[in-house]
Structure formats: C-alpha cells, structure tokens
C-alpha cells in the first residue's frame, strides 16, 4: 500500500533532478544495528554505486528502499514525495525496482510470461503477441538482447539478469537497484551489462548498484557512496576520487579492537597445505594450488571477499569436499583423502561460516548440538549417557556464557551471537590441534565479537594452530600473526602482520594485481 501522507518537501528542498532521497534511515535487527542514521541522495539519470565490505549495511539500505524491509526510523522521498513502503509492490508503484542476486523467475515460463507475471492490470485475458511486442520493444530500447519466447531455463545467467531488469522496467521502474550484479556474471557478460546500464542511464533511468569491487565502481558509476559498519562514510563523484581513497574509506579506519598480542612460542607445523586444488559444485577449480603452513600458537589470517575460494579451501581441509590435487597434512599425517570423521579425530575443529545451515541442527536441543562432535567418543560402547551430556552442556554453556533459557531448548531459538558461542564451545572443548575458523564473527554485535575474538586469542596462547578466514579485514589484522589474501582461488602472501600495509591488503582483496608488500 502506498500512502501519500505528507506532501511537504524534505527539510532541505531537493531540486528536480533528485530521484531519491533517504534521510536518517535506521534499521536494527535483534542484536545488530544494520543501518545507523544513513542519508543518501541519488540524482536522476545517474549511475550511483554503494560500496562497502560485507556487513556494512548496503543490502539492508537497498532492501529498505525497495520496500522489502521497513526502516526503524527515517524517511524516504521519491521524486519529492514522502513515501512509506510496506511491501516491494509499493516501491514499484513509486518507480523503484530491485534486481536481487538470486533471480526471482519462473523457470518453466517464457521470458514474456515472466515479465507480465503479477501484472494485475492485464485482466483475465492476455494477448500473447501484444506482450511479446511490449517485451521486445523494451529489450530493444535498452539494448538488451533477449528472445521473448525463450524459456527461462534455456537462458544463461546473464540473460536471466536481463529478464529481471526488463521485468522491472515493464513495471515502470525509473530507479533500478542492482544487488551485486556482476557477482554471477562471466567477464563478457559483465562488459555487456555495463554497456546496458550506461544506455539505461542515458535514457533517463537511475541506477543504484551495490558492489564491493573497486574497479567496477570506478568504471561504471558517476557517484559512489561508501558505507562502513552501517554508516555512510562519504558520497563522492568517481571523477574526484581514486581506488586508493576508496579503500581508505572502506577499511582504513582505526582497528576496532586493539588486542594485545601476547607473544606465544611458535611451535611445530600443525597444518600444512601443498599445492591444494579444489573444485566447486560446478566442477570449476575454485582453489588453485594453495600452499601454506600454520604452526602451533599461531593465527594465520586469510582475508578476501567471499566467493574467492575460501569456502572450498576450508571444506577441503575438513574433509567435507574432496581435493582434486595437492596435499593436506595434519601434524605430519596425510589427510588429503580422509573422511570428515577421521579429520575430526585427528584434532581438527571447524567453525563453519554458516552457523545455521552447517554448524548446528536447528530443532535439536542445545545439549544435542553440543554433543555433535563428541557423541561417539564421550562414552564407550553403542550408547550415549544423557546425564553426562547434560552435565557437560551445562558446564560449556556457563563457561562460554551462552545466554539460553534452558539447555533443552532447540538451537534455532538462540540469537546469532549465542549460537556462535555454542559452536565455539563445542569445537574448542575437544582436544584439538588445529582450528579452522571461517567468518567467526559475521553478523554478531560488538560484545559478541569481542568475546569470540578473545576466545580465539586465548586458544592460540595455549598452543592451538588457527587458520582464520574472514572478510573482515579489521578482524584479520587484529588477530593474525601472518596475513594472506585469497583472490580468485589464489593465495597471495602470507606476510607478517606487524607493519603490514593495510591499504595494499584492501586493494588486493578488491583484485588489484599489485603484489602484496610489507612496509
């Protein structure tokens, strides 16, 4: 429902060429403030990029603008009119359409059918030829080459994206929001998309796109708004900035937690990878010959934007995914082809990046979730001791400060931070030698982040070898002894964390081809 409540102009009257103005937008989720008093102004006919690391609040802001979320506070003016969106349809009525990373298309219908899907103005009878003509006209206008009669399942990812864009234009979107549009595209499709975006902008459409890739922001956008930790750092014309400056804005602020790194005696090599190669689900090589060593009492941090092979790397080490070439050694033992169970028994703990999907069983109790790894070994024989499990769970819940109504409650009712503490409690309580921690603090609030990070440092002090994989550069720098960057399946570095050039690391994460240098 669109409800025009207040026609009075925004506090500082916007000129005619302002397409959208967002003022004082706040959005909080339980335990997380995703947007903190965000202002954004987008000029008509501009290509405007929202740049920031994962978790910076870009997607939340765009979901608010497209009507998917309601802001906790703040106002949105579209073409000078104050709007309240309670659903995406309201945003579309106001001329705002969003193309998500995951397309929302019906595979078994044609392009034309998908475009008109949900258009109630058509009534009960539809004339196929007319629809095809409309779609073809829209496609021609924007230079998007798509056959209206083709079925969605026949199309490539890039073509499907075009259908999504045409769908939004058909519904009258004057402002298009693209959520990391190039993440799913191959290079040629990317170039094509850029050309189409430019053409749409020339035709008077406004484009907002979310990105964490510097080069594409510099190439494509007129304006760029940099976000960090839920706030806008700055909005600048791309003409007047540089990649270096953008990196500084993205990552170059003082480190959040300045932990004292207690000098720890570095011990023997616990984890060694030798030219490890791993393929992803689609058979593409995602990890390209990575070699590294992590020793006892050391944290090796791997920075990098998600999707550059870190997930596959962690899964190959933990036996969840086969390695196609190379070697994994745990304390000198070759575990390249071992089962997950054997690797667990060899002393490898794993904090997976996805705590709900991989790390826990949502409907099982906290007691059961805490027993996920040691249910086999805690008790000899074929049976488990419930009382022993309950006792151990109670101890761990207390020790790791998991805030829970009862150890018998299902894990799905825990908040993100507490769920993460639960996973850490389980993983660290076993006699382990190596810990693979993947995005251990993603989505947590400040307090939980600190507690998780302190736990990791304490474990390191006790001689654990930790491989820390994170997109959060601050975290990597705050905790790691050595830092490496993963980009497109290749590992660069590692280098000593002391005196490392933060901006160079940031550039590497964004795909700059310069070599990682220590200053």
């Amino acid at each position: 429902m669109t409800l025009v409540v207040n026609i009075s102009p925004p506090s500082n009257p916007a000129p005619d060429d302002v397409m959208v103005q967002m003022q004082g937008i706040c959005k909080s989720f339980p335990g997380v403030v995703a947007n903190d008093n965000v202002d954004l102004e987008v000029a008509r006919g501009n290509v405007h990029a929202i740049l920031g690391e994962n978790g910076a609040g870009k997607s939340t802001l765009m979901h608010i603008l497209s009507g998917l979320y309601r802001p906790t506070a703040g106002d949105i003016w579209v073409e000078g009119v104050l709007r309240h969106f309670s659903a995406p349809l309201d945003a579309i009525e106001a001329g705002i359409g969003m193309v998500h990373q995951h397309f929302m298309l019906a595979e078994t219908l044609t392009v034309a059918e998908n475009v008109i899907l949900g258009d109630r103005s058509l009534g009960l009878r539809i004339t196929p030829t007319q629809i095809q003509e409309t779609v073809a006209a829209l496609a021609a206008e924007t230079g998007m080459d798509v056959d209206p009669d083709a079925y969605i399942w026949q199309l490539s990812v890039g073509e499907q994206q075009r259908v999504e864009i045409i769908k939004m234009l058909y519904r009258g979107a004057r402002l298009l929001i693209l959520d990391e549009p190039t993440a799913v595209l191959v290079p040629q499709e990317r170039t094509q998309l850029f050309r189409q975006v430019r053409r749409m902008a020339m035709a008077g459409h406004t484009i907002l796109f979310i990105s964490h890739k510097l080069d594409e922001v510099m190439t494509l956008a007129d304006m760029v708004t940099v976000m960090r930790a839920g706030k806008v750092v700055a909005t600048v014309p791309t003409q007047e900035t540089s990649q270096e400056e953008l990196v500084r804005m993205m990552v170059g602020r003082p480190v959040l937690f300045d932990f004292e790194k207690v000098p720890v005696d570095i011990g023997d090599t616990c984890l060694r990878l030798e030219k490890l190669q791993v393929r992803n689900e689609r058979g593409v090589v995602a990890v390209k010959g990575v070699s590294l060593e992590v020793r006892a009492g050391e944290i090796l941090g791997i920075a990098g934007v998600a999707g550059n092979g870190q997930g596959e790397l962690a899964e190959a080490i933990t036996g969840l995914r086969p390695a196609s070439q190379g070697k994994v050694e745990i304390e000198g033992l070759d575990t390249t082809h071992s089962t997950t169970r054997e690797i667990i028994d060899a002393g490898v703990a794993y904090v997976p990046p996805d705590r709900q999907r991989t790390g826990t069983a949502p409907n099982l109790t906290l007691i059961q979730n805490l027993a996920l790894k040691d249910y086999r070994t805690a008790q000899p024989g074929q049976f488990m001791s419930r009382s022993q499990q309950a006792q151990r769970a109670a101890d761990l819940i207390e020790k790791y400060d998991v805030i829970a109504a009862s150890p018998e409650m299902p894990a799905r009712l825990l908040s993100g931070g507490n769920l993460q503490k639960l996973i850490l409690a389980r993983e660290l309580s076993a006699p382990i030698r190596v810990l693979i921690a993947s995005s251990p603090t993603r989505g947590l609030d400040i307090g939980a982040i600190e507690s998780v990070q302190k736990t990791l440092l304490a474990q390191k002090a006790q001689g654990l070898a930790i491989l820390l994989i994170s997109e959060d550069l601050d975290e990597i720098l705050a905790l790691s002894d050595r830092v490496a960057v993963m980009y497109e399946g290749e590992l660069r570095g590692p280098l000593d964390a002391a005196g490392i050039d933060v901006e160079a690391v940031g550039l590497m994460m964004a795909g700059s081809s310069d070599n990682l240098q220590s200053t």
């Binding site: 409800l3 309240h84 349809l89 667990i344 794993y350 999907r357 059961q368 488990m384």
Partner: protein
C-alpha cells in the same frame, strides 16, 4: 484515510502463522481430540449420505473392535503388521527418507518367508528354529527391497519416493508370479499350507491349559512387533546410531559436518526400514494365513505411512496409533463395508495432518495492509 481509499489496492486480510514457542501438553491433547471428533463427524456425513445412521455404525464398529476380548484380540492381530511396518517407515522418515515402499517390502518379506516355509523347513525342523529362519528370511526380503531405493538414492541421487513406490508394484507382480505359478496350489492364487511347525503360536492354541484364551487368534507376531518396538525405542532415544539418524534428519549438512557418512547411513536406514516391513509380511503368513495368498496385505504398508505420520514418527506413538487403526480395520470388517475403513483412514489423516499445523503454529489475523499503514501514518 477515506479520501485515499480509491487508490488503494484490494487486499486480503493477512493471516500469519506464528510458531508456538513452547508445546503445551493440554493444548496438544485438546487439539488432537478435537481433530479426531471432526474427522468422525466428516465420516459421519458420508455414512449419512450412504443411507446409514452414523451413530449406530460407529457404535457397532467400536463394539466389534474393542467391545469383547475376542474383538480386542482381532484388533491386535490387525495391529501387528501395522506396528512392524510403521516402525520401519518411521525410522526412515526420521531421517527424512520417504520410504513409500513398505507395502512392497512387506510382500517381499512374506514371499521369502514362504520360500523358507515351503522349501527349507521340513516336518522334522524344531518349531523355534523354523520360526527363526522364517523371520530371518522375512527380514532379509524386506531389507533387500529397502536396500535398492536406499542404494540408488545414496549412489545416484535417485528420488526414493518414486523408486520405493514403484518397487511396490514389482513386489506384487513377483508375488503373483509365485502364488499363481511355481508355488500355486492347484492354480489358485495361493500356496499350499505351511507345515504345522512353521505356524506361529496363537493364544487359542493354549486354550486347553487356559480356557479363557479360547478363540483368541493373537499370535507370536505381536511379540515380535513389541520386541522390535523395544529395540527401536532404545536405539532411537539413546544410542549413538539413533543420534546420527536424528541429526541427519534435522540437518543433513550438519550431520556431514559432524563426520557422519550420510550415504552409508542412508543405505543402512532404508535397509533396516525395509527389513522391519518384511517382518510384518513374515508375521502375516506365519501367524495368520499360514500360507501365502496373493492378497496377503490389505495395504498395511500404505496404512503404515498414515500411522507413522499420525504418531509423529515416535515409536511409542506408533504403538498406540497402530492399535487404533487395527481397531478401525476390525470395525470396518464388522459393518462389512470395506470402503469405510479406507475412507476413515483418509479423512483422519487429512484432518490430522492439516490440523497438525495448529500444534506447531498459532494463527494470527492481521488487518489489511491498508490498516497497518494507516496506524503508522
């Protein structure tokens, strides 16, 4: 608000389902009872349409199934294969393996049991040994029929719903081949009677010592079913194996992460699940008909799916629901209208499954979208 109503889209009041955060025993019991009454009422309408008096019909069914010791005995006889097949089905369902093939597994179990009874057991074989061999054969037959879809699923990702369902028809045809062909008694759809020593003892067999049990046909299969129940109950609740099943059922990804070999477990569970259904088939031929007939099962394997679902995959629940459904079968026989039992089963399942939603969620009616916005404005 009124001035803007013209521009407002028409919209339904929003119905939202809100998960119940805690399960209350009284709400559960009350809802279940209410749903059962609703199912009976719906069935009553059909009986009424067919020209019967639902109250009389229900009373007669009730008396037949639970009114006398013989009635209860008959109910137990019908419950026996249901319990076994349900235990098997719910074991697989716990791991979210949709084994729809209990019927075929039951038939294969019956077929293998018959093979042993006719060709392995001789009149000289001790009774205990004969029964043991037949039980093993029955289990093995069902297990093989469960293994196939399990292996296909684990190895090639074949949908077990389809493969296990299709194998039901293969099993029935195979059984028909034997009872009309090589093992047929004079071309009828049945085999000759098994030798006496391969019959499972019935209560009435002890009537000379305990006259009170005369005419009661409950047989050893019930003990077998209760034994299977006891084992599964313990395994599911407190064994490491049971934990793996529960974990894999709740989140396969987490199970893999915990080091569980999912493919192997899938094959084990489907095989075990089939084996239990196979025991149901064994119990039917060795305890009731004492020969294999082509219509050995009136769809026990399919009813087991309903029972498992209503029992929410809990072994103890399976025991009770199977008993009630056994009563339903006996009651339906009494009013000699075979369709009624299936009709009632269908209605009960339909009402319970749709009503089961209410056990987990409460329904909230929100106003229309317009109202919600209006409040904010």
């Amino acid at each position: 608000m009124a001035t803007q109503s013209a521009s407002r889209r028409w919209s339904l009041p929003q119905i939202a389902l809100e998960p119940r955060t805690q399960q209350s025993w009284s709400v559960n019991a009350g809802l279940t009872l209410g749903l059962l009454l609703l199912a009976l009422a719906l069935g009553g309408i059909v009986i009424l349409l067919a020209g019967g008096n639902p109250f009389v019909v229900y009373r007669n069914m009730l008396v037949a199934a639970f009114g006398t010791k013989w009635g209860i005995s008959d109910t137990l006889v019908k419950s026996t294969p249901l319990i076994l097949a349900t235990l098997g089905v719910s074991l697989a369902f716990r791991m979210r393996l949709w084994n729809i093939g209990a019927e075929g597994q039951l038939l294969l179990g019956a077929l293998c049991t018959t093979g042993v009874a006719l060709h392995v057991v001789t009149p000289e074989t001790p009774g205990v040994l004969a029964i043991l061999l037949m039980a093993l054969a029955g289990f093995a037959g069902g297990a093989a029929w469960g293994f196939v879809p399990g292996w296909f699923k684990a190895q090639f990702g074949v949908n077990e719903i389809i493969s296990s369902l299709m194998l039901n028809y293969v099993a029935q045809s195979l059984l028909n081949f034997f009872v009309f062909g090589p093992w047929s008694e004079r071309g009828f759809g049945q085999t000759p009677m098994f030798p006496r020593n391969s019959w499972m003892p019935r209560l009435t067999d002890f009537a000379d010592t305990f006259p009170i049990v005369r005419g009661m046909t409950v047989h050893g299969g019930l003990l077998l079913a209760l034994l299977a129940f006891a084992i599964l109950f313990v395994v599911v609740r407190s064994s490491k194996f049971g934990f793996e099943i529960t974990l894999a059922g709740d989140n396969p990804e987490a199970a893999r992460y915990a080091g569980i070999h999912l493919r192997r477990l899938t094959i084990y569970i489907m095989t075990l699940s089939g084996g239990l259904a196979g025991l149901a088939g064994m119990s039917e031929v060795a305890g009731v008909s004492h020969r294999l007939i082509n219509s050995v099962s009136p769809g026990y394997g399919f009813t087991a799916i309903i029972v498992a679902w209503l029992a929410r995959l809990d072994p103890l629940g399976a025991l009770w629901v199977a008993f009630l459904f056994g009563g339903l079968l006996v009651g339906a026989d009494e009013i000699s209208s075979a369709g009624i039992a299936q009709l009632m089963q269908g209605i009960i399942l339909f009402v319970m499954v749709s009503g089961g939603l209410l056990l987990r969620y409460r329904i909230r009616f929100h106003g229309t979208g317009a109202k919600a916005t209006g409040i904010e404005a």
